[in-house]
């Protein structure tokens, strides 16, 4: 049976294909439309996933949609009516998902709807390889639910308890994100990064936002929240409570802002820990599957894993809404046929393939020198390791694209983590992002323990752990001594593993700085032409695309000039300080 999962019409729309219980393809629409957090129906991801699966639209047995539109409409109506106003509210259209899946994807067959948090839970449980597990989800809101828990077993996914909107851990964190002048629904990770620089001296004040959190429940004091699509997410009462004005967008970040970030991060961790411990109390399984947008918070994740009471745990590579497409497809497949994956999903490379042939044609036509290592994999890896060890920044685009928000060695920018100046260099050249945000390391799994205080695999870069003293990795060590680690197994990604190994042979450190291959404000590159364009614009030293190696000094200056001008047509970033869950 072939089931296609779809998530759309909020943010991070995506598509996934599951064939006879196995995940065959998944990718996010933003990589095709080149609009971050794309919310439209995933028509390009759909085509790409079907292509990868080797199927046509007539082969699909069922499409699974990741959210119940009628329930969502109920919550939207409640907000609309309770609010007594209409400002900033988007279209309320429960027919949109079915209509657009039929009309814009051209799909005529049966359509199944899965509840939002069921889809989250399923994306974790069915990919975990566990026979049974306790399930925990947390995000801003899906239909009415903000947090849920339940059990997964041979009979499927069953969510037994939920916290209703507006009492939401995700909204709580997003509100402070908004208060700190960052964009909601995208910049929460900046708050997490900033938190390490501060002292949680606002914890007591922020704790007053939470009226009750006993027994897995959560009740927020809604006087402090303004949950509408227009304007800020907080009320003046929050300003009074904190005694601190909101930080204007792009204003300097001061100590008080760092302290507020530290406070909300600690509050979130404490609340999550409370929930997970409660869950372990009522479902004392060895295994926990955790998903939802809050599961992007890798600092909290590690604390939950260590302190939550579960022996094993699994967070999928795309715990947010994109992963809902995959969860919905897996859940429907299991319900319909009983088929489900038999092993854990440890490889996030579920997207389209990049072999570099398109880049070769472009380079050849423009007479740009490049080295073609086709059939000489060892030589390419050796050459790249040499370059990295010499301090070169490498754009690395090979094989299948990762599913989820992290670049895990297929669409990555790589650098030497031992070089203290590397972080600043990549930030200046490539990322142009806030200096407080750390870069992450990738490490061969078998030696991760030498460098990091990490006792389990972390293949999807969803754990933040301490860097061992003396590890000598300043470019990937955060101010608090932590790092957001990706472990790379030889059996999962032998090519990337081999590159790390070879770098390790040269330097003694089988670790690389690994950040996503994109420039600020753009999605991660998808194909080789995206990679070439990003490489040129960003001024990365070397590009490895497929089997080709290209050096920046060989690139015609007119390319840089054109792309710099073209980039200026796209450089206005929309700032989103309002929560857009209405639309």
């Amino acid at each position: 049976m072939i089931v296609v999962g779809v998530s759309a019409f909020y943010h991070d729309s995506a598509c996934a294909v599951v064939v006879d219980g196995e995940v065959v393809a998944a990718s996010q629409e933003e990589r095709y439309t080149r609009r971050r957090f794309e919310r439209g129906v995933p028509m390009y991801a759909y085509r790409s996933c079907l292509e990868q699966a080797g199927i046509g639209p007539g082969d699909i047995d069922m499409v699974a949609y990741y959210e119940n539109p009628t329930k969502k409409l109920g919550r939207q109506l409640w907000m609309l009516l309770a609010d007594g106003g209409d400002r900033g509210v988007g279209e309320l259209d429960a027919m949109q998902p079915a209509r657009e899946i039929r009309d814009r994807l051209g799909y005529d067959g049966p359509l199944a709807v899965v509840d939002h948090h069921e889809a989250h839970a399923a994306s974790a449980f069915y990919c975990s390889g566990f026979d049974e597990a306790a399930l925990f989800t947390a995000d801003a809101v899906g239909e009415w639910t903000t947090t849920s828990c339940g059990v997964g077993s041979a009979s499927g996914v069953e969510l037994r308890q939920q916290v209703p909107f507006p009492h939401s851990l995700g909204l709580l964190y997003s509100t402070v994100t908004s208060y700190l002048g960052f964009s909601v629904n995208s910049d929460e990770y900046k708050v997490m990064g900033l938190a390490a620089y501060g002292r949680p001296r606002y914890l007591g004040a922020l704790a007053q936002l939470v009226l009750n959190s006993a027994d897995g429940d959560l009740r927020l004091d809604t006087r402090y929240f303004r949950l509408r699509a227009d304007g800020a997410m907080y009320t003046a009462a929050l300003t009074d409570l904190l005694g601190l004005p909101p930080r204007p967008v792009r204003a300097p970040i001061e100590a008080v802002h760092r302290d507020l970030a530290a406070s909300v991060q600690l509050l979130l961790e404490e609340l999550l820990l409370e929930k997970v411990r409660y869950l372990h109390g009522i479902y004392p399984s060895d295994n926990l599957c955790y998903s939802g947008g809050v599961a992007h918070n890798c600092v909290a994740n590690t604390k939950l894993r260590r302190g939550g009471g579960f022996r094993n745990w699994y967070v999928p590579p795309a715990p947010g809404d994109a992963g809902g497409a995959l969860g919905a497809a897996l859940l429907v497949q299991h319900r319909e046929t009983g088929a489900r994956p038999t092993t854990a999903l440890t490889d996030a490379r579920l997207g389209p393939f990049c072999d570099g042939r398109g880049a070769a044609r472009v380079l050849h036509a423009a007479a740009v020198p490049y080295e073609d290592f086709a059939g000489r994999e060892e030589a390419l890896l050796e050459a790249t390791a040499d370059l990295l060890a010499a301090g070169t920044v490498v754009g690395w685009c090979r094989g299948q694209m990762e599913f989820g928000p992290r670049a895990l060695g297929s669409r990555s920018i790589l650098g030497d983590p031992r070089d203290a100046g590397m972080r600043e260099r990549i930030n200046r050249l490539v990322k142009k992002r806030e200096e407080f945000r750390p870069f992450a390391p990738a490490v061969v799994a078998e030696r991760a323990g030498e460098f990091f205080d990490l006792e389990v695999p972390s293949p999807f870069m969803l754990e933040a752990v301490a860097v061992r003293p003396g590890a000598g990795l300043p470019a990937v060590t955060h101010v608090d001594g932590s790092a957001r680690v990706q472990t790379v197994e030889r059996g999962t990604d032998p090519r990337f593993h081999s590159l790390l190994e070879r770098f390790g042979r040269r330097t003694g450190v089988p670790v690389l700085l690994n950040t996503s291959f994109n420039v600020r404000g753009e999605p991660i590159v998808r194909d080789d032409v995206d990679a070439l364009s990003c490489f040129v614009r960003a001024g990365i030293d070397v590009l490895v695309v497929g089997d080709l190696l290209v050096r920046q000094e060989d690139v015609p200056g007119v390319w840089r000039e054109y792309l710099a001008r073209a980039g200026s047509y796209h450089d206005r970033l929309a700032h989103n300080d309002a929560y857009s869950f209405f639309v």
Binding site: Y32, T33, G40, V41, M43, Y44, Y46, R47, G56, P57, G58, P69, T70, K71, L73, G74, R75, Q76, L77, W78, L80, A82, G85, V89, E91, D93, A94, M95, D103, R104, L105, G106, D108, W144, Q161, Q162, V163, P164, D215, G216, D217, A359, R361, V362, H364, A365, A366, V529, S533, V558, W559, E561, Y562, L563, R565, A566, S568, Y569, H570, D571
Partner: protein, 694 residues
């Protein structure tokens, strides 16, 4: 944990009642009412922004900015300085002017309008404002200062705001050269009221009713309000408006051919079949120069389509022109031009006769001077028709057209006779040739056939033979792989001042996605280059597999949609022939693999041809199917090959289509309007392996 509180259960119950098309429309209507009530209440309390009449009684403080500039006070009066905060994209649609000094003792002329007023394809080499300034400097006995506030793609509301703001510019004259974008703007349904009017018109009288409602109930009042603004401005500030009535290149623009233009909206199946029979007959008669037969068939087509197709009018116009009846030909061409306006399907900007007449009537009734380009740009030998030499495409003017138009405007402003030159004297031969190359490129991009594109290239070579070097650059740009920005020819092309905007924008396209196949073909002919030069230079052998639907590879493929509905991940054929280009470096045998669906077809199959040779049929059916067709090397050729799918006439129910379009309008979405002949999800050419090749 507690279950959700009671109000949520109530809203869930309400949601279940509203979770269908009717419910969506109901919610939308309720919200519109809520907004309207809130707005009325706010106005009652006097809190709303002043309406135009209020503003006339209580002139507002000067705005901070006008268009891309902010107002500054100088020693010679109010001037303008360009706003630093605007992005290059925002600035690129306005004149490239940093500062405008105060007018001093000069009379200030402000020119506003759309891309025609901006001088698209000529600017900054020349543009209407510069030409006007030159004429005024030559003939006037006082000093004039012309301000260029034209903005590419400006719509009616923005134009209205701009005109209102220009009241703070101490202007003496306001020249308005606009109208081409007004109809398409009205498609952006601004509220339920508009959508309801359109839906009512559609329900009542079908697509003619939709069109009538759009003109009469949506567009006309807005145009009236805009024109009233000009009068208010005149009364309040003394600025004298002058309207330029736009003209369309009636004989130099073809709405027929290819699969990029709308033929006809949905008709009853028997009528649609008859309509296409008549169309074939008219086209054949035109080719055979049987003018009377063309007229008979075309008139019967109009009777069937209610005047909502551009095809019969165009064919009729050609026949009448050939028969020597220029006045009747004009009528026919105008009917063709206007047929789709108001129908909410895609076509390029134009001013229909209804708007032209509204402008003329306004000028007459309110003693507002005007320049009617229908007269100014007329051919010398057949004054009923516009002179094609005055245009670069459907509505944008050549330097000849700008020269003539602005001479007339200068004459009207000064009360003197201004004799235009044969061309704009400030535009050299090279610059004229460049503008014609840009015209060829733009016409090709707009989907015009080779017969329209080719003459622009020849005129460019005639204007300046040295232009062939630029044409060779363009040919190389279009025949290379990958995005155009990676071509080293792009900087050469973009170096031309008037070409920069077009080629900078084209830079992100890949040649096979750029709709410029005809241009490639024409360039290869003109430059007498071998046909294979029109194919990617890096391809020594046919690719192992090539997808012919550009929708498969890029969001740009969404442009295949011929109406204003959202793009789909597959192609819906709204005309009976789908044409797909296939570039080959040499003839190649292979397999055409099509994934297709014909949900509204009768039992007849679709026919697939390659370069006119039938290679197979597609069985009709509601489900997606894959069909593989063998293609012999003997039917392919070097360079451009054309795969055509000829679809049977669909059996779409007109009443079902109208019902679904009424529902779409009710939820604020665009109606579909068009018939669907067939659908293609994928069309791939897979060359057979040749011995000795990898």
């Amino acid at each position: 944990m507690e279950p959700p509180s009671d109000p949520s259960f109530l809203s869930d119950a309400l949601a279940r009642l509203l979770a269908d098309e009717r419910g969506t429309a109901t919610v939308r209507a309720l919200r519109e009412v809520q907004r309207a009530v809130a707005g009325a209440e706010q106005r009652r309390r006097g809190g709303a922004a002043g309406t135009a009449p209020d503003a006339a009684r209580h002139p507002a403080a000067p705005p901070l900015h006008v268009g891309a500039w902010r107002l500054v006070d100088t020693e010679h009066g109010r001037g303008l300085r360009r706003r630093a905060e605007l992005t290059p994209a925002e600035l690129s649609v306005w004149a490239d002017v940093d500062e405008v000094p105060g007018k001093g003792d000069a009379a200030r002329v402000v020119l506003v309008g759309e891309s025609t007023a901006r001088g698209y394809l000529l600017d900054p080499v020349t543009n209407p404002t510069r030409a006007l300034q030159r004429h005024l400097d030559t003939v006037a006995d006082r000093r004039f200062q012309c301000l260029d506030l034209a903005r590419t793609s400006i719509d009616l509301p923005d134009l209205h705001r701009l005109v209102r703001a220009s009241g703070h510019l101490d202007a003496d004259h306001l020249v308005v050269l606009a109208g081409n974008n007004w109809t398409t703007w009205a498609y952006e349904l601004s509220g339920l009221g508009d959508a309801t009017r359109l839906a009512d018109g559609l329900r009542r009288d079908g697509y003619p009713g939709l069109r009538r409602a759009l003109f009469d109930e949506v567009l006309n009042p807005r145009i009236g309000a805009f024109l009233d603004e000009l009068l208010r401005l005149r009364d309040r500030t003394g600025v004298q408006p002058l309207l330029v009535i736009p003209e369309f290149n009636l004989t130099g623009w073809s709405p027929v051919g290819g699969s990029r233009y709308v033929d006809v909206p949905t008709l009853r199946p028997d009528e649609l079949r008859r309509w296409y029979d008549l169309r074939a007959r008219a086209v054949a008669a035109l080719a055979a120069q049987r003018w009377t037969a063309v007229q008979g068939a075309a008139r019967e087509m109009v009777a069937l389509d209610g005047g909502l197709s551009p095809v019969p009018g165009y064919l009729l116009g050609r026949a009448l022109l050939a028969a020597g009846d220029a006045a009747a030909a004009r009528q026919a061409f105008e009917q063709s031009r206007d047929s789709l306006c108001g129908l909410m399907v895609k076509y390029l900007p134009r001013t229909p006769r209804m708007i032209q007449e509204q402008l003329v009537t306004f000028c007459r009734e309110h003693d507002v001077p005007s320049v009617d380009l229908r007269v100014t740009l007329a051919r010398a030998d057949q004054p009923e028709l516009p002179d094609e030499q005055c245009f670069l495409d459907y509505c944008h003017l050549s330097d000849v057209g700008v020269e003539r138009a602005m001479a007339e405007v200068a004459g009207r402003l000064t009360g003197r006779t201004v004799v235009p030159g044969a061309t704009d004297p400030t535009v050299g031969a090279w610059q004229r040739a460049v503008s014609l190359v840009l015209a060829a490129t733009y016409n090709a991009f707009c989907g015009q056939p080779a017969e329209t594109v080719r003459p622009y290239l020849h005129r460019a070579v005639e204007a300046d033979p040295d232009i062939v070097d630029l044409l060779a650059s363009l040919a190389r740009l279009l025949s290379r792989p990958g995005p155009m920005w990676s071509s080293l020819d792009l900087p050469r092309l973009a170096r031309e001042p008037s070409a920069a905007v077009m080629f900078e924008r084209l830079g992100e396209y890949r040649p096979d996605q750029s709709r410029l196949w005809f241009l490639r073909q024409c360039l290869a002919e003109l430059l007498a280059e071998p046909a294979e030069s029109a194919v990617e230079v890096a391809e020594a052998a046919p690719p192992s597999e090539v997808e012919l639907l550009d929708i498969a590879t890029t969001p740009l493929g969404g442009g295949a949609v011929l109406n204003y509905t959202d793009p789909r991940c597959y192609l819906q054929a709204n005309v009976p022939t789908t044409e797909l280009p296939l570039g080959l470096p040499r003839p190649a045998a292979g397999c055409l693999r099509l994934v297709h669906r014909c949900r509204e077809a009768g039992p007849e199959p679709a026919v697939v041809t390659v370069n006119g040779t039938p290679v197979g049929r597609l069985v009709a059916g509601r489900q997606w199917r894959t069909t593989e067709l063998a293609v012999g090397a003997d039917v392919t050729r070097v360079g451009l090959n054309t795969v055509r799918v000829g679809w049977p006439v669909p059996t779409t129910s007109l009443s079902d289509r109208i019902d679904s379009d009424v529902a779409a309008l009710a939820r604020g979405a665009a109606p579909y309007v068009l018939p669907v002949f067939g659908e293609l999800y994928s069309v791939r050419f897979v060359p057979y392996a040749v011995e000795g090749e990898a």
